[in-house]
């Protein structure tokens, strides 16, 4: 099969890769770049476990063709860290113990970060809607919503202070 050439920036680092025409972005992230944060859940973009930011927009990577990421900026959950410092959303997930098995956590963190970048003080309903593409089977929803609200209010507190 013909290989596609792919020039993509992942977590701030630019990569020149080749991929098969049917390879999803998730495959490239996990198998070529060794990133474990985006996770395979369903293969059809229905569960959110593989969410990444593509040019800042949260999107499933399991059904996003890798070739279509050419020339784009991709951010995974790993890319949200600033050195060893967690993003406010990641920290809030820890503070609120907002996970059980944690398999879906990276996708949720990505969705929540995207929400807060566009809407720094969302209502609870807006948080629920922003995370609606992320499934959780363990039932940690209440804590996740709480964590996102907390990250938002702390950011607002810092901005006011």
């Amino acid at each position: 099969m013909d290989q596609h050439e792919l020039h993509v920036t992942v977590n701030g680092e630019s990569h020149l890769l080749s991929c098969q025409p049917d390879a999803p972005l998730l495959d490239v992230l996990r198998h070529e770049l060794g990133l474990s944060g985006p996770r395979f859940g369903c293969g059809l973009g229905l569960c959110g476990a593989c969410f990444v930011l593509i040019d800042g927009e949260p999107r499933s990577s399991c059904d996003f063709p890798a070739w279509a990421a050419d020339g784009r900026q991709v951010t995974t959950v790993e890319g949200l860290l600033d050195g060893d410092t967690l993003d406010a959303v990641q920290q809030a997930f820890l503070d609120e113990q907002a996970a059980q098995c944690g398999y879906c956590t990276s996708g949720m963190v990505v969705s929540a970060v995207a929400l807060l970048r566009g809407n720094p003080s969302p209502t609870e309903q807006e948080v629920r809607e922003a995370l609606d593409g992320n499934l959780c089977r363990c039932g940690a929803h209440r804590r996740v919503i709480g964590a996102v609200m907390k990250a938002a209010s702390e950011a607002a507190g810092r901005a006011a202070g």
Partner: protein, 705 residues
Amino acid sequence: MSESLPATLAANPLLAVWLDFTEPGVVTIRSGKVEYGQGVWTALCQIAAEELDVELARVRIAPVSTATSPDEGITSGSRSIEESGSALRQACAQARSAFLSTASDLLGTDLSALAVADGEITDGGARTGLSYWSMSGRGLLDRAAGEPRPAKAPARWSVAGRSVPRIDLPDKVTGRPRFLHDLVLPGMRYGRVVRPPGPAAVLLSPGDPPLPAGVLVVRDGSFLGAVAPTDRMALAAAAALAKAASWQLTASLPDEHDLRGFLLAGPAQTVIVDEQHDQRAAAAVTRTLTAEFTRPFLAHASMAPSCGIACWDEGQVTVWSHTQGPFALRGAIATGLGLAPGRVTVNHVEGAGAYGHNGADDAAMDAVLLARAVPGHPVRVLWRREDEMSWAPLGPAMLARVSAGLDAGGRIASWRQDVWSNGFIGRPGTGGEPRLLALAHRAGGQPISPSADGPPTGAMGSTRNAVPGYDIADRVVVRHRLLTMPIRTSSLRSLGAFLNVFAIESVMDELAAVAGADPLAFRLAHLSDPRGRRVLEQAAELAGWATRPAGADGTGYGLGYARYKGTSGYCAAVARVEAETEVRLTHLWLAVDVGRIINPDGVINQVEGGAIQSASWALRERVRFDRTRITSVNWDSYPILRFTDVPQVEVRLVDAPGERETGAGEVAQGPVAGAIGNAVADAVGARVRDLPLSRDQVARAIADS
């Protein structure tokens, strides 16, 4: 009378199996219980830190491996804290005592003056220079556990009994490798399995599709798979094989629209689970209510499709699996392949939440078979989502028929409950059979026999919690286990408790209405157990039960209660719904008493999660199938509750420090189902007895009322 050792410590008595001080400043503990998101490892570390008098940060827990860990059976049934916690606590108490005793000899100091401060031995508060680590070379752990020693009194606890952050979450919020799915071993190859198009399908011919160089095809009877250098190649090869293969399909599945007919048609094994006759009470019955309740087949629907890795080397096989029972899996693989168990090693690596017996063990067996094609290379098999939803064992469809009699005074005088279901006990090794999918599909493989259901008690199988926890003088509970299994079933969180408590709590409300009593007062009038009464009262208080608005205006409140297994944790739940035909669950309030608690926030997390999952089962979930195959194979055809659907959940822990520890992960399943059912009945004025409480079922119940 001396107490006996905790059972899993007695079975694995060598202290060195449980504890290791080799690494300076670090305590390594080993348990046979696995972590899958329930937070058990954090709680076990707390127990060890407490008993050894070391800081929690020093305690590490080793991954479970059949090569090094104590065999503590399956991680299931909410027994980990009770079993592994007790064993570790006792092992630590004995280790601490052995070290202090040796220190006393070495120092020539009276034992009573010695203590431990963060692992250092102190004499009258002063450091002695001795520690667990400085004495670790003395072989003090190379001894069997002796007579049980008293453990530290909970009143003196400083690490256990407090909420601490889970040790596994930092990796999970940053996306670091943690799951089996993330494990990449040197020389690893990728395998994919082509499953038959239905449970009874037989492979006639694999066809001969063109495949790229480097792809190996493995075929053994109806087991068909491919091994390739990359996962993408293996997936493509499996797709090509699936397209080329020809199968003989058989219409082996029941009619999904007539589960009642399927369940009652038999053949079934009928056993009495509980029987208590009181002729006077039975004779006093003036009014009898009989009703049937059903649940459909339910999927574990883990967020991660199952994964397994295996590597053969000189007749030995090493397996990496997210199984809940590494030792049972080892035995099943060995039995299935005719190997000595010593030739199989199973290493546990975390997977996503399992909620019972999912595809983990089967994926491991797939890897074992495919890896034989490339000795020396680990082969990693990942299931597709579609395989997880249709080939992992399911929670069985069930029917519970309740017949309850009230006396003239409005008290329950008699109760009979009959439960029809396939068995819940089908893990690898049950009944001495390996019970692994790939083995059944091999040439000459035997179909997996109908699942068992455990001893006929209120704690086991489909009749778990079928014995009402209320004071009822005359009662009979009967189990009818189906002896055919067209759809493979096994354990799913809380086993039969989910439907049995739904049925019992629905009938309790219906009886209360007949008796003209408030649902809370009616339950309390039949409940003498003070711990049960307390959770009911506390949940009602939390929910504002006494001042709730009257129902049937599209808003409803409902109550549900059970003591899990009849012997474990207590839980009461109040649900609030808004419903005309579509049910919107807005609130759940829960009170739980799980005895002594190690990590309160961990318990709350488990109860919240159990409550939301139970709500999802009750409101949304139903495995779909036609006569040849499962058709609900992804999230669009098997919807679960989403962020915009989930209720507010509030959990109150009822303090019971003097009571033995019990699990928390399954206490909410039954009570929440009962509470939601009762809230829906309160809101719409009609009783829905068939789960899920979908728009169609609610509309049907309203039409029938």
